[in-house]
């Protein structure tokens, strides 16, 4: 029996409303993180341009727009 099960995919969570709400919150947080790394010109970080400059090389090499 385990052999038959071994080729079957993992079952994935049913997309319940609760999972959808959680996922929406997580997506917002992750997009905020991506924004901070890749697009923030000092607006969110509240540290002036420090984080922007710190991650400057990464931003250029990740291919996102920079000054």
């Amino acid at each position: 029996m385990p052999d038959i099960q071994a080729v079957r995919p993992l079952s994935t969570p049913a997309v319940s409303p609760r999972v959808l709400v959680t996922a929406a919150g997580v997506v917002v947080l992750l997009l905020l993180l991506a924004y901070l790394v890749a697009f923030d010109q000092g607006a969110i970080s509240q540290s002036g341009m420090y984080l922007h400059e710190l991650m400057h090389d990464g931003r250029h090499l990740l291919g996102v727009p920079c000054h």
Binding site: S11, T12, L33, L54, L61
Partner: protein, 261 residues
């Protein structure tokens, strides 16, 4: 006994955790690639920028001259940037996997994970790169940063829509249609959406005439390689971590089978 007995379903939290971890691994690997191929090009570009800036002008555009973070700090910050970016993308990949797994029409979790990562590489890296290729420091007018950012994000969205259109088109021919017809439909839908995006969005070319072409090319290849490394490693790492859930669950089931027997 029913085949599904003892099957545990991975929760969104379990999948998300694996996505974030895969993203961290992929981001650090992308950082290694970026560091080894890109740093020397960034240094060369900054040298050109500094040579071009009139020595008398205080602070220039206020961007690279302020020394808010030293060059060594920026080299270390490169890894912070790629790691955090990888974590963000890993979490988004795991979320997409959770929401879309049942629609992916494959029995293989590995193919599902790699397919999603490949779709992301195509839609949010390759499509944008052709329209708005990466630029080294010393290229780019600070005054157009908002316009360039909006254009870039627009082409990312269009890239994802193009991939989605391709998948829909591949599934739209009648049942029993030959596979080549599905492939042609997918490619046509993808190309049409991308072409519309390329035509509608403004072209931006801010590379100075004096900037060395070979340096620009090398930098762009390093940048593309960084993103390709990130998404390839992310897809593989996420698939590997998913495989470990499956193995662990099967082991648990086998143990429970023995107990039941």
């Amino acid at each position: 006994m029913p085949l599904t007995a003892g099957r545990t379903t991975p929760s969104y939290g379990a999948l998300l955790l694996r996505g974030l971890l895969a993203g961290l691994i992929a981001g650090l690997l992308a950082g290694v690639f970026a560091y080894s191929t890109g740093e020397s090009r960034i240094d060369a570009a900054i040298a050109i920028e500094e040579a071009a800036a009139p020595a008398a002008e205080p602070a220039g555009d206020g961007h690279h001259d302020e020394e808010l973070v030293s060059r060594d700090g920026q080299r270390a910050g490169l890894f912070l940037a790629t790691a955090l970016y990888g974590v963000a993308m890993g979490g988004l990949l795991a979320t997409a996997y959770t929401l879309l797994r049942r629609r992916l029409r494959t029995d293989s979790d590995t193919r599902a994970a790699l397919g999603l990562a490949g779709a992301a590489l195509l839609g949010i890296v390759l499509v944008p790169f052709v329209k708005y290729p990466a630029n080294p420091p010393a290229v780019g007018n600070p005054a157009t940063i908002n316009q360039r950012t909006i254009g870039y994000l627009s082409i990312v969205v269009i890239g994802l829509v193009a991939v989605w259109a391709g998948v829909l088109a591949a599934r739209s021919p009648r049942e029993g249609s030959p596979e080549w017809l599905r492939a042609v439909a997918a490619v046509a839908a993808f190309v049409i959406v991308v072409a519309i995006g390329y035509v509608l969005l403004p072209s931006i070319d801010e590379v100075p005439d004096t900037f060395p072409a070979s340096l620009l090319w090398d930098f762009r290849i390093a940048s593309l390689g960084t993103q390709a490394t990130l998404w390839t490693a992310l897809g593989l790492a996420f698939a590997a971590l998913l495989g470990r859930i499956g193995t662990r669950d099967r082991a648990a089931r086998e143990r429970s089978d023995i107990v039941a027997a």
